[in-house]
Every structure is written in C-alpha cells, then in structure tokens.
C-alpha cells in the first residue's frame, strides 16, 4: 500500500498516491491541465512544455515531472504559465498540417483539446510564419500510416516502442525544426524491425500515426482475444452486424491495454466469406455442409475406433488454458495415450 498524499490544486483538495505526479493526480480528479507528450503508461519527459504549474508560488515547473507532495498548493494558471502555454500552442498550430476534416484523429485529438482549452485567437495566429513542410507519408505498413507533417514530436511513440514493447523500432532523426520520428536509417516502417503491433498508433495524441482504415464503431462488446492463450482483454467495435475495430482493455490484468498485431488488426476473419460457420463432412470425395450433431457423432465414433497409440491430439494456442487442460486429460484418460502436443510448444 502506498501512502496517501493530501494537497490542493487551484484550491481544490486532492488525495493522491505517493509517487504519483501532479498531472496524473489532477487528471484523476477531473482537473484538466493541458498536455501533449504525457501518457500515463510512460515515463514523463516534460517535452511539450504545456503542463506548467506553480507550486507554492514558485517558478513554473512541469506538472508531469513533479511528484505530489504533502500540503503543497498547486496553481495551474498564472500570467507566466499562460504566456508560455499560449506561445507553445500557437507555435504548434502554426507548424501543424491542420487538415482536421480529413484527419483520422479529429474526434480524439489532443492538439485540438489543448487549443480549445487555450482559446486560440486567429488574429494572433496570423502574425506567425507558417512552417512549410511537405514530407512524404509512409504508407508502407499494411495496418497504419505515418504522416510526419502532423507529428508534434511528443515522443510518445518512441517511448512506447522502447518502454512498453521493448523493441526500440523508433527514434528521433535530425535536429531542431527538422526533427522527425523515424525508424533506423529513416527507412519505411515495413523495412524496419517494427512488428506492427500498433501500440504507438493508439497512443499518438494526434493524427500522425493513424490506422489506415479508421472505422467508427456504433457500440462495443467486451470480450477476450481468440488468438492465443494469453487471453488479452479487448473491446470489439461493432457497426451494424459487423466487427469494425478492436480496442485493448486497459483494465484487464493480462494485457493492461496492450495488444499484438494479430489481436489488434487481425479481425477481418470474423466477417470473411471463407470462414467456416458450419461443420463439413467429406462424402464421396467432396466436403458437404452438415449439422453439428451429425458431425459430433461422426467424430465420437471415429474416436472410439482409435483408442491407444493410434491416437494423437494436437491442441491449439487459440484455446484457453482450461480448454487445453481438458484436451490433454481427454487424450490421456479417455483415449489412453500420452501423444498430446500443442502448436505453441516451445
């Protein structure tokens, strides 16, 4: 158990956990502090410089980097904070490729959230020189694309691949205003060590890393991924009677919001016309659709003829642990053989 810390943000009493940072504590209490480079899954870096606060009337510091401390008085706004934030967000907008109407992230864009909070004035923006940048969009990955013109260099993707995935496929390239996120040698994604898990894509706060086929689900169903025995928690997004998206369940202890490439992007088999939805029995050299009862009876009779060393069972990684247990039990106790194996045996 960690200790509780009591302090105030803008006069409001806050109870936080020891070790938490001020930004996370504020967000948990529905107090918004603007931010772009912070993600609760990642170590804070203080790069976007938007989340400044003043503690006990001191200099502005970044709330993502400041641990909560007992009794402190945190202010989320002051003339200095306002000025620094205002310049930062205006610079970001003047640098950004603002095609919001066509952007996959428009419904969930942190840049727009910050701008809305700051109330950006067009006449102030007009004073600024716009960045002229027309970098090619990397569409090499089958599942997502990367538009560097929309990237805000928050580094969330870089840190995600480093800290969560452990792969380190991404890094920063070049310096200053030319800084871009890229793979080793700035090669297209497919030519890099990227495993297409999409962890970076779901965390990108803007539309720079975005799924190629963004689909908006009308409703969601909570379930477990069918691919392997890990049993990641997912939400299937459904539109009409089709599964259109997969979202990781952050509450599920098995995956805590992470997924692999198959779990996240490999769901089109669900609605695929080639998918078997009824058992097939080979009659006269041709497969014919059958009812379940008939198929199961056929299997049972064949099993009964094949007890002992004639029999071997190969289980699937798509089954749960319990299902796999039952298969080995059945093989040993009913079929009388130890010949049992599994496709994911290591």
């Amino acid at each position: 158990m960690t200790n509780q810390i009591n302090f105030t943000i803008d006069g409001q009493e806050i109870v936080a956990q020891e070790g938490q940072n001020i930004l996370d504590a504020a967000l948990a209490n529905d107090i918004y502090i603007p931010h772009l480079c912070h993600h609760p899954d990642l170590k804070p870096v203080g790069a976007c410089r938007l989340c400044g606060v003043e503690i006990d009337g001191g200099h502005m510091t970044m709330s993502c980097l400041e641990p909560v401390r007992e009794g402190i008085d945190v202010r989320t706004d002051s003339p200095v904070i306002y000025q620094a934030r205002k310049i930062a967000i205006e610079l970001l907008i003047a640098d950004h490729h603002m095609d919001c109407l066509a952007c996959a992230a428009a419904h969930d864009c942190d840049l727009l959230t910050v701008s809305a909070y700051m109330g950006v004035q067009p006449e102030r923006l007009e004073r600024l020189r716009k960045t002229e940048r027309d970098l090619p969009i990397d569409t090499s990955n089958p599942f997502f694309q990367f538009d560097p013109n929309k990237c805000v260099i928050c580094g969330i993707c870089v840190r995600t691949c480093d800290e969560i995935v452990g792969l380190g496929a991404l890094g920063f390239i070049d310096r200053g205003v030319s800084t871009v996120v890229g793979t080793f040698g700035n090669k297209p994604f497919v030519e890099s060590v990227c495993e297409s898990c999409g962890e970076c894509v779901v965390r990108c706060p803007v539309g720079a890393l975005a799924p190629k086929k963004p689909e908006f689900a009308a409703r969601e169903v909570q379930t477990t991924c069918v691919y392997c025995g890990v049993g990641c928690g997912i939400y299937l997004g459904i539109s009409g009677d089709e599964v259109v998206s997969v979202r990781a369940d952050r509450e599920r202890p098995t995956n805590e919001g992470s997924l692999c490439v198959k779990g996240r992007y490999g769901f089109n088999f669900i609605n695929h016309p080639d998918r078997l939805t009824k058992p097939l029995i080979k009659k006269n050299g041709e497969f014919e659709e059958a009812e379940w009862d008939e198929a199961l009876e056929l299997i049972a009779s064949k099993f009964a003829e094949s007890k002992g060393e004639k029999f071997a069972a190969l289980a699937s990684a798509k089954c749960t642990l319990e299902e796999n247990y039952l298969i080995q039990k059945f093989t040993r106790a009913v079929m009388g053989t130890n010949s049992v194996d599994h496709c994911a045996r290591l």
Partner: protein, 604 residues
C-alpha cells in the same frame, strides 16, 4: 637549463599548425642541429592572427608570421650570436613600431595568465615539461596532506565559479557531489566547446593537457570518484591526441591509475568523443550522450550531483574550471580569492574575435573593463577608421552591448545585469559596418539548427524567430514583428526545457534593447543603417566618377555601363550587390555610394 642557453619555442596550436608550423619546426631543428640551442614546440600562444609564432627564450624574442623562408635568418642569428631578426618582429598597430619581445607587446603585458600560464611555454606532449613547472604538485598535496573535506573547503573558499558559462560556484557543486551517498561516482570534464568562434578550451587542452587531468584527479579525490571522462568533440583531433598522450604518460608515471603516487587513491580518465552537437555541451545531454543515447537534455532535478552518469552522482565541470583547481590547491584559496572582484574570483579567458586588431586568446583578471580588453589588449578596431559599435559575449546565449557599456566590469553578475552573460568566453567585437538585426539573425540561425528538437518552445520558437528576422533583413518585415519577437522571447525563455532554449532569445532581446532603431528602420523604412542587408541597399555611381572603368571591368554581372573617361552608371536590374565596385573605386575618386531606405535609381 643554463641561464644563457637558448630555447626556441614554436607554436603548434591548431591555428599555427594549419599555417605550416610543423614544417617550420623541422627546418629549425635541422638548422640548429649540433648547436646548443634547443628547439621545442608548444601549445597556443593566443595571438593566433600573428601565427606561426616563434619565441626565443630566455629573452622572450617574439617572431610573428614566420614563414619557412624565415627559418634561415632565425637560425643564422641564433648560431652566430647576432642580433634578432628585426623584420619578423610584431608591429604595434598604432605606432607601426616593431616590438622585440612579448614582454613589450600590450597584448601580453596587460594579461594575467594563470590558466594559460603553460600554454605556449611547455611542450604539451612531454610530461617532464609539465612536472618542471610544478605539475602534479597540487594532486600530491591534496592526496597526502589534505582530506577530501579540506579540498572541497579550499575550492569553496577560493570563490571559483564554473567557467562553462553559468558561473555556478564550483565548491558548492563539489560539496553536493561529495555528500551524495554512493560507492560509484564520476568526474566529467566538459570539453564540448560548441559556441561559434570559441577556442579557449581547445587551447588549454592542446597547450596544457596535464593541468586538466590534474584538476580532475583532485576532484575525484575530493568527491570520492575513481573514474573520469573527458567529453571532447571529435572536431578537436589535436586536443584529443594530446590528451591521449598526456593520459598515457600520467598513467606510466603513476599520476593516474591504481594507487596514485603509491598512495591508496585510484583514479583513471578516458576520453569520450562527442559528435559535435552544441546541445551536447548541456550537462544532461552530455551525460545522455556518454550513456550511448541521442544527446538530448532531460529535465532537472535530479541534478547530476545526485543522479548523473549511469544514475550515479556525477561532477561535471568545464575544462578551465579544472585547470584552475591545481592553482588553488598549490597557492591556497586566499591567493585565488585575492584576484578578481567580490563575487567573481580569478581570471577569465576570452577568445577575442571580430573587427579587432589583435584577435586571439586572452586571459584577464575578473573585473577588468570591456574597454581595457578591447582597446588596450585587443589593440582597438581592426580598421582604425571605423567606430566601435558593439561587443558580443556569451555566444548564442549572450547579448550585444553598445559603446555605453564599455566601462562595464567583466564579471558574471555585471554582464548579466547588462543583458549579456560571461558564457564560456567568446568575445566578438563589431564595428559600425555591422547590422545588428543581422547579428541577431546569425545567432538565431545557429540556435535553431542546434536545438535538439525535444521541446516545443525551442524547436518551433527559434525557427519562428529566425523566420521573422530573415524577413526583416530581407525587407519583408511587417509592423508588429518587433512586438511578436518580444512576445515569443518571453514564452521561449520561460517555457524551454534546457539552457539552450532558455537563452536563445537573448541575442534578439539585447539588440532590441540597445539597437531597436535599427529594427524599426528595416521594417518601417526598408533601410539598413549599417548598409549591410543586400535586399535593402543599392549601389550608385556619383557624378564625380572619372570614368576609369575599373568598376565596369570588375563587375561580374556586367551591370556597370559607361564609356571610358565618361560618367558610368549601374543597371540596377543586373546588380547582384556584391560590392566589388565600391571596393575598387579608387579612394581618391570615391564615387560609388551605397544607399538604403529611399531607393533612387540612376536615370540612364
């Protein structure tokens, strides 16, 4: 060395080496073979513009701009015991008189050389030369006669402040690192020296590498570290080579390594080659870079003294800071504290450049005025007919001070108060032909390119300021741009993560503070008062032209039209504004005029 034995010292600092001083050394050696004159090479003497420099000791005879063909007369004078070679004497820029020894040259006589005391005097590749000058005595005294606490106390009492720019009290930093509990600690030397035009640290490393090693070893003893790294940019191959030689010699003689001087203190040093990014001079970026990552700063706290290299307590100081340490230990904190001003002790080393007669490396006591450095030591303006306009200190983080600040004492706090800063030691002198908006643009161009890109205000803000400044110098400035620059400066200074961004607007802010009228002239009148910004000036031939045709023949774009002995004129549509016509028009005629502001085309 017998009193009347002569030694010839030839400078082999980077500047003199590139002007063939190694060949001169070889020639001198073969010429003097068999004589009792010893030939040695040294590090930089500081007066790089006059190089290659040859000095004959003990008299201190000073030969400037020595060429290979000059070796013969020098050898002749030494061998035959004749008088010195007068034509190679340094000429006083004011009196044009030849000065025979460096003691007579104001550039040297007005300096106080402590950190640079061995530079130009000893052979940096020979540890015996360093030992002969009392080398490693400080380390010996620290290890055998003092406790770590006493060493830290001496540095505290000396009042030494960091020479890397910020001026943080060195003793306090040592104390923090000493107090941080850990078995493993590191001593780092910042030899990244990225400011444009700065070469103070390089000269110390090339001219007196052991002084830095000794300072680091004393620091290691004081804070309880066994390992040190020197972070030196790879663009300094000579410094790296001499450091490597010095480290090897120090190890051989037991001044580095296990059981230093047969005591029980272990300390060793390695060199880390930096890739030459300015931001890697920032302490946290430097540490990140040694750890093998992209050199990007991280937020402090934790400070390196608590959590530095590999998360261990780490002491980081500048080259010159370490070079001062042995002097403090040898001569005592009181001696050191007696030099300089109340809050800035010791000396400051500057790389004096720009429109100054004697450019080079100078070391002066803190508290001396800018006027003394520029006019007494520096010899005043390069072109005596031009007026002084401003002096820039502190590199890209600093500012430009106008004439009214010439009597400002040079110390950490006075310079900050004036809007500039000490920085690591660049000092650029500007004359009336310098456009201050263009100076600001130059520095912003540097910081914009060197920004690591991590944080928004610096990455995008320096670019925004640069775009505006480029617009202004190219005639596209808009009303409101000055206010926008000021607005941006506040946000960038307050918001940036590291010192690079926090200080990047300074060159703009000081030029706005002292030369605002120049910005206004550019924006409101399309005029560059210094007549430097190409887009805002035009060249014209006055009717005093005698028609000699010099300008016409020299113009690369054939923009000058006129018959011999007749009035010439410039076709503005063809003129590329290279300024050749202005240069070549004979001074007696002086018929080419640069106009700015009101664009008057000469009718044909």
């Amino acid at each position: 060395m017998e009193a009347n034995d002569k030694t010839v010292l030839i400078c082999r600092g980077t500047g003199c080496e590139s002007a063939k001083s190694p060949a001169i050394q070889t020639e001198l050696m073969s010429g003097l073979q068999g004589s009792d004159v010893e030939v040695k090479f040294t590090g930089c003497h500081g007066m790089c513009q006059q190089g290659p420099i040859v000095i004959v000791e003990p008299q201190g005879t000073f030969y400037a701009n020595v060429k290979l063909k000059d070796v013969e007369p020098i050898v002749g004078s030494l061998k035959n015991g004749g008088g010195p070679v007068e034509k190679l004497f340094y000429k006083d820029p004011a009196t044009k008189e030849g000065l025979s020894t460096y003691h007579d040259i104001p550039f040297y006589s007005r300096q106080k050389r402590l950190v640079l005391q061995n530079c130009g005097r000893i052979d940096p590749e020979d540890i015996d030369d360093y030992l002969a000058e009392g080398g490693y005595e400080g380390l010996k005294k620290a290890i055998f006669d003092m406790t770590p606490d006493a060493v830290v106390q001496a540095v505290l009492d000396s009042g030494l402040r960091g020479r890397g720019g910020g001026g943080f009290p060195t003793g306090r930093k040592w104390k923090f690192t000493q107090d941080a509990p850990s078995d493993t600690k590191y001593v780092l030397c910042n030899a990244d020296e990225g400011d444009p035009g700065a070469f103070m640290d390089r000269s110390v490393l090339e001219g007196d590498p052991h002084a830095v090693l000794e300072g680091m070893a004393i620091a290691g003893f004081a804070i309880g570290a066994q390992k040190g790294y020197i972070y030196c940019r790879a663009e300094y191959p000579l410094a790296i080579k001499r450091l490597q030689i010095a480290i090897e010699q120090a190890r051989e003689r037991g001044y580095l390594g296990k059981g230093i001087m047969d005591g029980d203190f272990d300390f060793d040093i390695d060199i880390f080659h930096g890739a030459g990014a300015f931001v890697c001079g920032e302490e946290t970026a430097l540490i990140t870079s040694i750890e093998g990552n992209r050199g990007m700063p991280r937020s402090r706290p934790p400070y390196p003294a608590v959590k530095g290299l590999y998360d261990k307590p780490t002491l980081l100081n500048n080259v010159k800071t370490y070079a001062n340490v042995r002097l403090i230990i040898n001569n005592g904190a009181d001696w050191f504290a007696s030099i300089g001003t109340e809050k800035s002790k010791g000396t400051a080393v500057f790389a004096l450049t720009g429109k100054i007669a004697n450019s080079g490396l100078v070391e002066v006591p803190m508290g001396i005025t800018l006027r003394e450095i520029i006019f007494d030591i520096g010899g005043g303006m390069l072109d005596p007919n031009k007026n002084f306009k401003a002096v820039q200190t502190g590199g890209p983080s600093g500012g430009c001070l106008p004439e009214s600040f010439l009597d400002t004492p040079v110390d950490y706090d006075s310079l900050i108060e004036a809007g500039s800063m000490m920085g690591s030691g660049g000092m650029v002198v500007m004359d009336e032909d310098t456009c201050m908006v263009d100076v600001a643009r130059y520095f912003l161009d540097f910081t914009e390119k060197e920004s690591c890109g991590k944080c928004v205000p610096c990455r995008l803000g320096t670019k925004q300021m640069l775009d505006i400044l480029e617009d202004i110098v190219e005639g596209r400035g808009k009303p409101g741009d000055i206010e926008l620059l000021e607005d941006l400066a506040v946000g960038i200074k307050a918001g940036s993560l590291c010192g690079l961004g926090q200080t990047a607007p300074n060159p703009v802010l000081t030029t706005l503070r002292y030369f605002r009228d120049e910005y206004e002239a550019h924006i409101n009148h399309h005029a560059c008062p210094a007549k430097q910004c190409k887009e805002l000036i035009t060249y014209h031939i006055l009717d005093t032209c005698v028609g000699c045709g010099l300008c016409r023949r020299n113009c690369s774009t054939n923009a000058i039209i006129g018959e011999q002995k007749e009035l010439h004129y410039i076709d503005q549509s063809l003129c590329h504004k290279c300024g050749v016509c202005f240069e070549v028009c004979p001074p007696k005629v002086f018929s080419v005029e640069i106009r700015t502001g009101e664009v008057k085309l000469v009718e044909s």
